[in-house]
Symmetry: C2
Subunit: 209 residues, 2 copies
């Protein structure tokens, strides 16, 4: 068989190529926000980083606002996906509580949260951006809370699970913020261990065991 007689691979459909380009631009935006800050995430800079032509980037995101909005949607989608990592198959008990707490902490210690933090900081003085973020954040907060409650209290029987899940997520957010300027993982492990014990005790005590 000669080289010339090979059947060429099927051409990537245009729609699929477009989807991949868009995704690459969004990944690039999230990385730029997290590592280089708010002002680094422009359409031109992100296109260059993603190896996408400026024209193609502008076709997807005609303005910086469109790019940031789409990146923010992706951030909340990724964070929701982390919040729903499967742990529900685990039997209820200490291991499952530890897994639920770890999962909550993972939401806030990833690149996505570091990117979100840059957008939040910018939004503090930008009412339009704030109005864009708040409903997304609200939806995310509800989803993350529900998934944490389900992980901590699979039977839906523990009256303390709702509040304990809320504290877990607020604590995780605080730990995430402490990790933005330096690697806080060693100190964090101790805080997470303490919190996991306290959650187990609180749920046991609310069960009246």
């Amino acid at each position: 068989m000669t080289v010339g007689s090979r059947t060429p691979p099927p051409r990537e459909p245009r729609q699929e190529r477009s989807r991949i380009t868009r995704e690459r631009l969004l990944r690039s935006t999230i990385e730029a926000l997290a590592h280089d800050g708010w002002s680094a995430a422009t359409v031109a800079a992100v296109a260059e980083q993603a190896g996408v032509s400026r024209g193609a980037a502008q076709h997807h995101f005609p303005t910086r606002e469109a790019l940031i909005t789409a990146a923010l949607e992706q951030v909340f989608e990724d964070m929701t996906s982390t919040a729903s990592t499967a742990i529900t198959a685990m039997p209820a008990g200490p291991d499952r509580i530890a897994a639920a707490v770890d999962r909550a902490v993972r939401i806030y210690t990833g690149t996505e949260f570091k990117a979100a933090l840059q957008v939040w900081a910018a939004a503090a003085s930008d009412p339009a951006l704030r109005q864009l973020i708040l409903p997304m954040e609200d939806r995310f907060a509800h989803a993350a809370h529900q998934m944490t409650v389900e992980a901590l209290d699979p039977d839906g029987a523990n009256p303390q699970a709702h509040n304990v899940a809320q504290v877990t997520l607020d604590l995780a957010r605080g730990l995430g913020l402490a990790d933005t300027l330096s690697d806080d993982s060693k100190r964090r492990a101790q805080v997470v261990a303490t919190w996991t014990e306290l959650v187990a005790a609180a749920l046991r005590s609310a069960e009246g065991v």
Copy 2:
């Protein structure tokens, strides 16, 4: 007595005037950071806001870096001062635990923390700024932790106080962040109430009561 015969008030000494001007510029910088964001806190903008001439402002802070550094020192000083609000006179018990938790939350829900957040966000992509912040933050974290431990465990006898104080401060930081884009005080009150109960239970249980 005629108007002319009144003894004029003693002239404000130059040093005192200079101190007041400096303080006014720093207050203005902290307000600008918290409400208008990182890029708003320039020497010129802050001078105008503070009603100080640009020349006088530049005498105190020749560069933006000098202004931000001094404002950051002021922020950590103010936060340390909040962390040391007197509650040690209260008898040990549930009221004192509630006061200690409230105090920790106050550290992270004031204007100072909102200003610090802007500097942290900027520092994520500015290694020089990061190197400036980290030692200040470290000193503050140690002081706040020590004061929280003392408030929770005045006798220094509870083996759980150290860890519980740490969780309290990380949770408070997370609550502070949740308050930056919208007023979170209502939801926060519920989280604080849950946490205060859990702290009391954890300290009781560690005491073996």
